[in-house]
């Protein structure tokens, strides 16, 4: 019991710290690596929540594919360090105040409205990894077959769109 608690607290600290690192790091490559760390932490959260398939998908899709794409573009553009620009004087304080309001709202809803289900509703349900993944696959390919197929169309459209967008028109400079 205590082991899970300690693991959760450490993971939470790492997740929040890596998100903060993403916010404050000047170098974009470091920011991307902080985000990879954050994604990995969230993947362990998924494992704790008994969602092994989602955890692995998180590692492969987010920490793998998406972040490689990010790093590739960062290095392609040579944009790892932007010169510090002029800030609107009120922008940063306003942003921090607005975010504080958002967080306070979330906390309020969490502790006022969610008292009923403050604990995991079905704590006795044993999490069997194989069974979860089997049930997930069955649901995905029976009940959610149409959304799944539409997803493939979406990915195809995104792929074609990216190719069309970045294709150089003949005669265009650069």
């Amino acid at each position: 019991m205590n082991l899970t608690l300690i693991l959760f607290v450490i993971l939470a600290a790492v997740a929040v710290a890596s998100a903060a690192g993403l916010l404050i790091s000047r170098n974009t490559v470091y920011a991307a690596l902080f985000l990879v760390l954050n994604f990995a932490t969230v993947a362990v959260f998924y494992l704790l929540l008994g969602a092994p398939f989602i955890a692995l998908a998180q590692v492969t899709i987010y920490a793998g594919a998406i972040m490689v794409l990010f790093l590739f573009v960062i290095m392609l553009l040579g944009a790892d360090k932007l010169p510090p620009g002029k800030f609107l004087p009120w922008q940063r304080p306003t942003a921090i105040v607005l975010t504080g309001i958002l967080l306070a709202e979330a906390g309020f809803l969490l502790f006022q409205r969610l008292q009923l289900s403050a604990t995991l509703a079905n704590p006795e349900a044993s999490v069997n990894a194989t069974e979860t993944i089997r049930a997930l696959g069955l649901a995905l390919f029976n009940q959610y077959l149409l959304p799944f197929e539409v997803t493939s169309v979406l990915l195809l459209v995104a792929m074609v769109g990216v190719i069309v967008l970045t294709k150089k028109v003949k005669g265009e400079p650069g």
């Binding site: 019991m1 899970t4 608690l5 959760f8 939470a12 929040v16 998100a19 903060a20 993403l22 916010l23 920011a31 985000l35 954050n38 994604f39 969230v42 959260f45 998924y46 704790l48 929540l49 989602i54 998908a57 998180q58 987010y62 594919a65 998406i66 794409l69 990010f70 573009v73 553009l77 932007l82 620009g85 002029k86 922008q91 306003t94 942003a95 958002l102 979330a106 906390g107 969490l110 502790f111 969610l114 289900s117 403050a118 604990t119 995991l120 509703a121 079905n122 006795e124 349900a125 979860t132 649901a139 995905l140 959304p147 979406l154 995104a158 769109g161 990216v162 967008l165 970045t166 650069g174």
Partner: protein
């Protein structure tokens, strides 16, 4: 194992990550970092989905997370292509330079 952690703790982490993502979108100038902050927010929402799915013992939350991941992969691909085009046209990706629509 995971049963000892209350649902509200996961939701609190999710809320904190979402707020930090929103802060990143608001205060950073680099569109790449803004994009990463958007990913952070999507991730926070995914965490809440999985926590609720576990709490109510249904799989629908996990399936929705799967779809969110797919859509965000598509979104990142298109967004990064747009950033590359902006870089080609402006030779910089500072979002402050994108003020052509300003009267």
């Amino acid at each position: 194992m995971a049963q000892t952690i209350p649902l509200s703790w996961y939701l609190a982490i999710s809320a904190a990550l979402f707020a930090m993502g929103a802060l990143g979108v608001l205060i950073r100038r680099n569109p790449l970092i803004i994009f990463m902050s958007v990913e952070l927010m999507l991730n926070a929402a995914n965490l809440a989905f999985v926590a609720f799915a576990r709490s109510f013992d249904v799989l629908t939350g996990q399936i929705f997370v799967f779809f969110v991941m797919t859509v965000s992969a598509a979104e990142v691909a298109v967004g990064l292509a747009l950033i590359i085009i902006i870089f080609r046209n402006k030779h910089s990706i500072d979002v402050d330079l994108l003020n052509s629509l300003k009267g």
